[in-house]
């Protein structure tokens, strides 16, 4: 049983230190978000925002909240579309191995190498013709390109580990290909689905280049564009920029923690079986 033995708490201590180290730059961002302009470049730097200011947060809470909603919708849409496209493909490449499959994986590899800005320029032309510039579906379609190749490769790597006997058993039970995929392959691949979803969400959440090129002129702007309210032509309001980043991270971080809980639950259910 993995209840809190002293050894486990000792690991918690180490874990806290490691996480602290990893998150130090994040702390610094929070620190700057509270700092007045005149203290931003103090030498030596202030470790805590003594004489802090809430100006940054005031600006953000006044102006930025609608953007968060857009980012969420785009993130969730991207996750759904990515998994819908990548999971079946991963299954086919891993288990059905059609001729031409390796070539497709290869194309997926190349696809990820196209510079984001070139992709964005291509999308601009396509979206203009389709009329989906400055719309949510447009941004979701574009952000999905960030994660689909990744998703297919990850699904292929993980699904190739599903024992063939399991699939054969399903076929013997009379299940067709779709049923096998839906009720055998997908449930078994929950871990990789969560992994892919996680990254699809994170990528779309932090995407700037697509948002700027394809949604810059619309009513549906994600939070990454909100930051540009504080980056003027000659001047940048750093406390507000950092405050935006902090405000934008909190709901997403909560979501991450919940998602991790869900993965771990699945995993513990497996570990507890004996």
């Amino acid at each position: 049983m993995t209840t809190s033995t002293p050894r486990a708490w000792w690991k918690t201590g180490v874990g806290l230190v490691l996480t602290g180290l990893m998150l130090f730059p994040v702390y610094w961002m929070i620190n700057v978000s509270f700092t007045r302009d005149q203290d931003m470049r103090a030498t030596p730097p202030h470790l805590f925002p003594t004489n802090g200011t809430l100006d940054g947060y005031r600006a953000v809470l006044d102006q930025q909240l609608p953007y968060l909603g857009t980012s969420f919708l785009v993130g969730l849409g991207t996750v759904a579309l990515t998994v819908a496209l990548a999971a079946p493909a991963g299954y086919a490449l891993a288990k059905l191995r059609p001729p031409g499959g390796p070539a497709l994986s290869f194309v997926l590899l190349i696809a990820q190498m196209i510079p984001g800005i070139i992709m964005a320029m291509g999308f601009y032309a396509i979206f203009l013709t389709l009329g989906v510039l400055n719309t949510l579906p447009g941004l979701i379609l574009a952000d999905t390109t960030l994660a689909v190749p990744f998703g297919v490769l990850i699904f292929t790597a993980f699904m190739s580990g599903i024992p063939d006997e399991l699939l054969q058993a399903a076929v013997v039970d009379g299940a067709g290909q779709l049923r096998t995929f839906w009720s055998v392959v997908l449930p078994v691949s929950r871990n990789s689905i969560v992994t892919v979803s996680l990254f699809a969400f994170l990528w779309s959440w932090s995407d700037f280049i697509f948002a700027s090129t394809l949604a810059g002129g619309g009513d549906h702007q994600p939070i990454t564009l909100g930051i540009y309210h504080y980056i003027g032509n000659n001047n940048q309001q750093w406390n507000a920029i950092m405050a935006t980043a902090v405000v934008a991270s909190i709901p997403a971080a909560v979501l991450l923690i919940l998602a991790q809980r869900y993965v771990s639950m699945g995993v513990t259910a497996g570990a507890v079986k004996d």
Partner: protein
Amino acid sequence: MPSTTETTAAVRDQGGAASAAPPGPPPSRVRRPSRWWAWGFLAPVTIYLAAFYAYPLYRNVELSLREYTVRSFVQGGAPFAGLDNYRTVLTDPAFGPTLTHTVVFTAASLAFQFTIGMALALFFYKHFPLSRTLRALILVPWLLPLIVSASTWSWLLNSDSGLVNAALGVVGVDPVNWLTSPGWSLTSVIIANVWIGIPFNLVVLYSGLQAIPAEMYEASALDGATGWQRFWGITFPLLRPVSAITLLLGLIYTLKVFDIIWIMTRGGPTGSSATLATWSYRLGFGNLLPEFGPGAAIGNLLIVLALIAGLVYIRIERRQQLR
């Protein structure tokens, strides 16, 4: 109810362990008519690829083969230039150093990201109080827009008012010009990039670890294997497919990185932290007068590098499957 949990659990546990699965009956794949099915499953992604990647890729190749000026970029009619843009780039005195920086940046980033990510994944493998929350928190850097995380790093590494130099001062080390001296700038952007890449490696490797059957460990524990032996004897070989894909994806993402470097140093001072990706960006978009042709040519050279890596990966994979 308990029986269903048991089967799914057992199945999950075996995921990812195929390459080392005991050589049972030869894998007679799920009936033959499945070829049509296979392409049915692949159809959505294929259509998506054709619709949304083909055109940008074509654009990138076309840009590199013509002599584009701003005028012909807008008005059309750029003359065909063959491989001139490639020649321009390859004979540029900056090409050698930039290629070296790209290789160093990529290799160092990958090595550190992977090692640290693996160490953290192993650390978090056994549950302890707060482990899930901490593991989720480590992902937070990924939520930040790159302009924020890269700016934060350049803040910390500032020569005069940066925290890192202040900390070095406390222990009596002279300040280092992290971002402003040609000798350190590459190191600085590597540090920031490693930091950004750790969560990716941690998450993928962690999911890989979860898929290793617990029985494997139990068996080796009976044999009296030490933790170190267990890692090299079981974990590492079973994790190989996932490790390979992590490294391959890491390689591709790292080759492509430009925003972190661009925001922190603009590739400078004097090109000392420029990689092929930042060079391409500078030529094509980071300039008042864009040079799309050479910029796109560098982009395509990067694609070729990634292709080579992909070929190597596929070869290794195939060799393992044959075994």
